[in-house]
């Protein structure tokens, strides 16, 4: 007889249903698995055999043929152990069909028969629910993570024996999470802007950046506070919506970064990869494609500190995923896509030793080193970053603290961000975009008309301040965001003037 057990396979973040068909025949004993099963699944044979025996069941003395249907798609993951074990026991008569037909199973088996947690449990459960499975048996270690999925009943299983017991009618309560997970509002875990003394101009630029989704580049001496400023960005980003939270959690699930202690992503992610990171770790990849830092920062911030120290090749590969807001990882036979909708923040010193132009420290770089460092700062990635700010060290710091005048708080910055975001949502409701930074050339002309004074100011800026012609559209987009924060219907000269302030590095490539 043939048993059919429900489970699913993952491709990127999407899951597709898989039926594990098991048949026992009168041939020399052995297990064969068909259906484009990966190496991990082929290894399951050993685990399943031993786990079945360890659970006190008799492994059938027949040839076991397992097919993972549909046979034309690739199957991947260690979670096929449990459904295959159930399938074998079902086929050898341990259970009747009506006992297991309504369930779906995922889990990796240990050699002693216990069930281990797997990566990607969340998207697997979501996928199974979407095709109509109402009851799912899954590892205890993944239950918390999957508990956020609505409209499905979960059974947390410790071991194969317990799962069979449940199917054969033993008492069992569905899994319910005891914790109320709050997500959305920033919890300020990385700090709040009230902690930052001075740097009001930088805070202003950051507010603009978050409001319009513009990327941000900070240049400053070591110790000027760039990292502090960057870390606090999530505290002013808008609330995480349910869909965003789910998507971000799915990515972490597939990356294997969730646990019962931290089963979901409740805050916008803030990722700071070190500059020695490899392309695969940053963008995603590996033999079995796993999400990279750029996807782990999805719906959050990707902070590249010491930007010029990153390998040029790695930076080059960032271009497409920044543009498309997703990253395609191609393999010989198939393609996997992970999302990458991030806010990009980069920071750099003025030179390798950090002190070029500082009148209190000697710069120890040779002219060749200076040129090399500078050349890394230009390029296609920085071209996509609309805002550039220079962060001077805050002098007279002690004076400021004594003064008692509070710096701008995260709460007030977020208020401005939310106001501006609302205006953008309403304006672009039919355009399929939601932020000023996403405007293409045609949309720019349509939504950002400029009066003669603005145009004149822009022309003068390009001439006198050494702005590049490409900076033109960036300045207009930023001006539009500044106008939104100001709640002005159209762009005025003061918005353009301020927006031009944020192109202060352009002149470095031309003259200095």
């Amino acid at each position: 007889m043939i048993s059919k057990i429900n489970t699913a396979t993952l491709t990127g973040l999407e899951s597709d249903i898989v039926t594990v068909e098991t048949c026992l025949t009168n041939q020399l004993p052995g297990i064969s698995i068909t259906g484009l099963a990966s190496q991990t699944i082929q290894e399951s044979r050993e685990r399943v055999r031993v786990a079945i025996a360890a659970s006190g069941f008799k492994f059938p003395n027949k040839k076991v043929t397992i097919n993972l249907a549909p046979a034309w798609s690739r199957k991947e993951g260690s979670h096929f152990d449990l459904p295959m074990a159930i399938g074998i026991l079902a086929a050898s008569g341990e259970m009747k069909e009506q006992q297991y037909a309504d369930y779906a199973f995922i889990g990796e088996l240990s050699l002693d028969g216990s069930i281990n947690p797997v990566a990607g449990a969340l998207p697997l459960v979501i996928g199974l629910r979407d095709v109509g499975m109402k009851k799912i048996i899954l590892p205890k270690g993944n239950a918390e993570e999957a508990s956020i999925v609505r409209d499905v009943t979960l059974y947390a299983a410790d071991s194969l024996k317990q799962s069979i017991g449940l199917l054969q009618g033993a008492e069992s309560t569905p899994y319910k999470s005891c914790t109320e997970y709050r997500y959305g509002s920033p919890d300020g875990i990385n700090g709040l802007y009230e902690d930052v003394v001075g740097q009001e101009s930088a805070k202003r630029a950051i507010t603009i950046g978050v409001a319009g989704g513009h990327g941000l580049f900070m240049m400053g001496f070591p110790g000027s506070g760039k990292t502090m400023l960057a870390q606090r960005i999530p505290s002013i980003m808008p609330e995480l919506t349910y869909e965003e939270m789910l998507e971000a959690t799915k990515v972490y699930s597939v990356a294997g970064e969730l646990s019962n202690k931290r089963p979901m992503i409740t805050q916008r992610p803030f990722r700071t990869p070190h500059h020695t990171i490899s392309a695969a770790a940053l963008l995603g990849g590996g033999g079995i494609p796993k999400p990279g830092e750029i996807s782990l920062a999805h719906h959050g911030v990707l902070f590249l500190d010491e930007f010029p120290e990153f390998s040029r090749q790695v930076l080059e590969m960032l271009r497409q995923p920044l543009e498309e807001r997703k990253i395609n990882i191609a393999r010989a036979a198939h393609k996997v896509t992970f999302p990458s909708n991030i806010m990009l923040v980069a920071a750099s010193n003025p030179c390798k030793c950090g002190f070029y132009g500082d009148d209190r420290h000697q710069c120890t770089c040779t002219p060749a080193q200076l040129n090399h460092y500078r050349s890394k700062i230009s390029g296609p990635i920085l071209d996509r970053i609309d805002l550039q700010i220079e962060i001077p060290p805050v002098r007279y710091k002690e004076l400021l603290e004594e003064d008692g005048i509070p710096g701008k708080s995260s709460a007030s910055m977020r208020e401005a961000v939310n106001k501006a975001r609302k205006l953008q949502r309403e304006r672009y409701i039919n355009e399929g975009i939601s932020l000023n930074s996403e405007l293409n050339a045609a949309q720019l002309r349509k939504y950002c008309p400029l009066d003669t004074y603005c145009k004149a100011l822009l022309r003068e800026g390009i001439e006198k301040l050494g702005l590049s012609a490409r900076a033109f559209s960036k300045v207009v987009k930023v001006a539009r965001t500044i106008a939104d924060i100001d709640e002005a219907a159209s762009i005025r000269t003061q918005h353009i003037a301020e927006a031009m302030r944020y192109r202060s590095l352009d002149k470095y490539y031309r003259n200095f």
Binding site: N26, Q27, L28, P29, G30, I31, R49, N61, K62
Partner: protein, 117 residues
């Protein structure tokens, strides 16, 4: 018949005696066909057992069971299919066993059941 063959057939006789003692019905000895050959074919309960017998003088040359290589196993499997095709044994569940005999004052017999996983 040389020494090796003599030893082989002596071992086979010990194996047969051992199996019969365990309630196996001996169906065929030294089954040969183009695909390969099988030392002993026996029947017990629902199993049709194809048995390879390996004999050694002492275990100094390694365990005899280790001499059953993948290739040998493949031949046994092919031969077993051949046997089952041309006979009426298909309703039985086939199985491949190895019987290991280490000669000595008291021959040591090791019956390894179902080696094909």
């Amino acid at each position: 018949m040389n020494e090796k063959q003599k030893l082989g057939s002596y071992g086979e006789r010990i194996a047969v005696a051992f199996l019969m003692g365990k309630g196996y019905r001996i169906i065929k000895l030294n089954y040969r066909c183009r695909a390969g050959e099988i030392d002993v074919i026996a029947l017990k309960d629902e199993f049709l057992v194809f048995c390879e017998v390996k004999t050694r003088r002492g275990s100094s040359c390694g365990r005899p069971a280790a001499a059953v290589t993948r290739d040998k196993l493949l031949h046994i499997e092919k031969a077993s299919k051949h046997f089952m095709a041309y006979s009426n044994w298909s309703k039985y569940q086939p199985r491949v066993d190895v019987i290991e005999i280490i000669m000595g004052a008291e021959p040591a017999i090791n019956h390894i059941i179902s080696v094909t996983e």
